[in-house]
């Protein structure tokens, strides 16, 4: 993946698919957290919650994860 910050948003080029995505927070942070190791929505809320204010907790994480999964950026293991 290649990422470029564009005033608050993240333009992301995903090499395997050749697709460009424009991501708003917390999606980029979520991808960073998952880059460390795979995790459940609740674990992600916990991990990200250490550095950011997360509204909606695990439910919010699950919804964002579903979007990223549909885009092929994350997958279930």
């Amino acid at each position: 993946m290649v990422r470029v910050e564009l005033d608050g948003l993240t333009a992301l080029f995903h090499r395997p698919s050749g697709m460009t995505h424009i991501l708003a927070p917390p999606a980029p942070q979520l991808l960073d957290a998952l880059a460390e190791s795979s995790a459940t929505a609740a674990e992600l809320a916990e991990r990200l919650g250490r550095s950011f204010q997360i509204d909606g907790g695990a439910d919010e994480m699950a919804a964002r994860l579903a979007e990223l999964e549909a885009a092929g950026l994350v997958q279930r293991v």
């Binding site: 395997p16 698919s17 050749g18 549909a70 885009a71 092929g72 997958q75 279930r76």
Partner: protein, 337 residues
């Protein structure tokens, strides 16, 4: 240039490109695009010294083919993610299979839809899983749907609503109404796993599918490309022990011996493919018609020989369907248009 012969001869003999004049290059490029062989041509000519303009055009074709390959593999990967929980074998077919298996037939090749073969009994689950993962029916037409489900060798085409890419889900490789009935179960049984868990056909079956596709699917449109696939596979697989014997056995099993013979003769004639003379059989008078049909294109990329094309068009429908059914199908098509 009166037909596609120049394209065929350069695919076969790349160094001959050194003698072309600018007008011939322009014609060759138009013909290669019309035959969906521009990427293949670009790949074949990659090591030949070419005029700068030509090199720039072919470099673009190689880039486009590389991008097509990447997209096709990604589409296969997304289908794999959608279908993996079912635990059924998913066999990639045609262009995506060549790319996934790293075969020379895939070099520079254009790739259209994603074609997969699954066991017939798994169709309902596969359909359901694809619909759940964002694929949608292309046509909402009851006649088309019924026609596909009763007589065709595949589900009605599906398209992904986000990625706008089509998938064809086959349960066998020829329409159920066609004369020969290939043994799809044996094909799936002998398929080989590739690293991500998807599968490709075994070498002999892969050739046989390309042969079936060349003659029985459509009216020989795109035939030069399909025949090129066969040439590349035969050259690559022929070194395997007992390949020709295995090929003969599979042709018999799938009831495609005559088609295999014709494909071998045409490949040998046009691309100088080394073939087993016994499997190829003796040259027939009608071979010349097939050859003319394959080469029927002028230097502007226009199809020529419209009478011959028409004959092949009717023939292709004839082969897929018994006459009564053909009449019914053409009637339905006419009524709708």
């Amino acid at each position: 240039m009166t037909d596609s012969r120049l394209l065929v001869s350069l695919l076969r003999d790349p160094p001959a490109a050194g003698t072309l004049d600018p007008a011939q290059w322009t014609e060759l490029i138009a013909v290669a695009r019309a035959e969906s062989l521009i990427g293949t041509l670009a790949y074949q000519l990659r090591a030949v010294g070419l005029p700068a303009t030509v090199e720039r055009i072919l470099e673009q074709a190689r880039g486009a083919a590389e991008q097509a390959r990447r997209q096709a593999l990604w589409e296969a990967e997304m289908a794999r993610r959608a279908l993996a929980p079912l635990g059924v074998p998913i066999v990639l077919l045609k262009g995506t299979a060549y790319a996934a298996a790293g075969l020379s037939a895939g070099a520079g090749r254009s790739i259209g839809d994603l074609d997969i073969l699954v066991p017939r009994g798994a169709l309902p689950q596969v359909e359901e899983a694809l619909l759940a993962a964002g694929w949608e029916w292309v046509k909402e037409d009851a006649y088309d749907d019924l026609y596909y489900r009763r007589w065709m060798h595949e589900l009605p085409p599906l398209i992904h609503r986000e990625r706008d890419r089509m998938i064809d889900v086959h349960h066998t490789i020829l329409p159920l109404t066609a004369g020969p009935t290939p043994d799809a179960e044996a094909m799936i049984g002998d398929s080989q796993a590739i690293e991500n868990g998807l599968r490709v056909l075994g070498p002999a079956d892969m050739v046989m599918h390309a042969v079936a596709h060349l003659f029985a699917d459509g009216d020989m449109a795109g035939g030069l490309r399909n025949l090129w696939d066969i040439d590349r596979m035969l050259r690559q697989f022929a070194s395997g022990a007992d390949f020709w014997k295995e090929l003969a056995a599979r042709a018999r099993r799938h009831q495609l011996q005559a088609q295999l013979g014709r494909a071998l003769r045409l490949a040998a004639k046009l691309y100088e493919t080394p073939v087993d003379p016994q499997l190829a059989g003796r040259r027939r008078l009608s071979d010349a018609l097939f050859e003319q049909r394959l080469l029927a294109r002028n230097g502007w990329g226009q199809g020529t020989r419209s009478a011959l094309r028409l004959v092949f068009y009717i023939r292709s429908h004839w082969m897929r369907m018994p006459p009564l059914m053909l009449a019914r199908h053409l009637w339905q098509k006419a009524r709708k248009s």
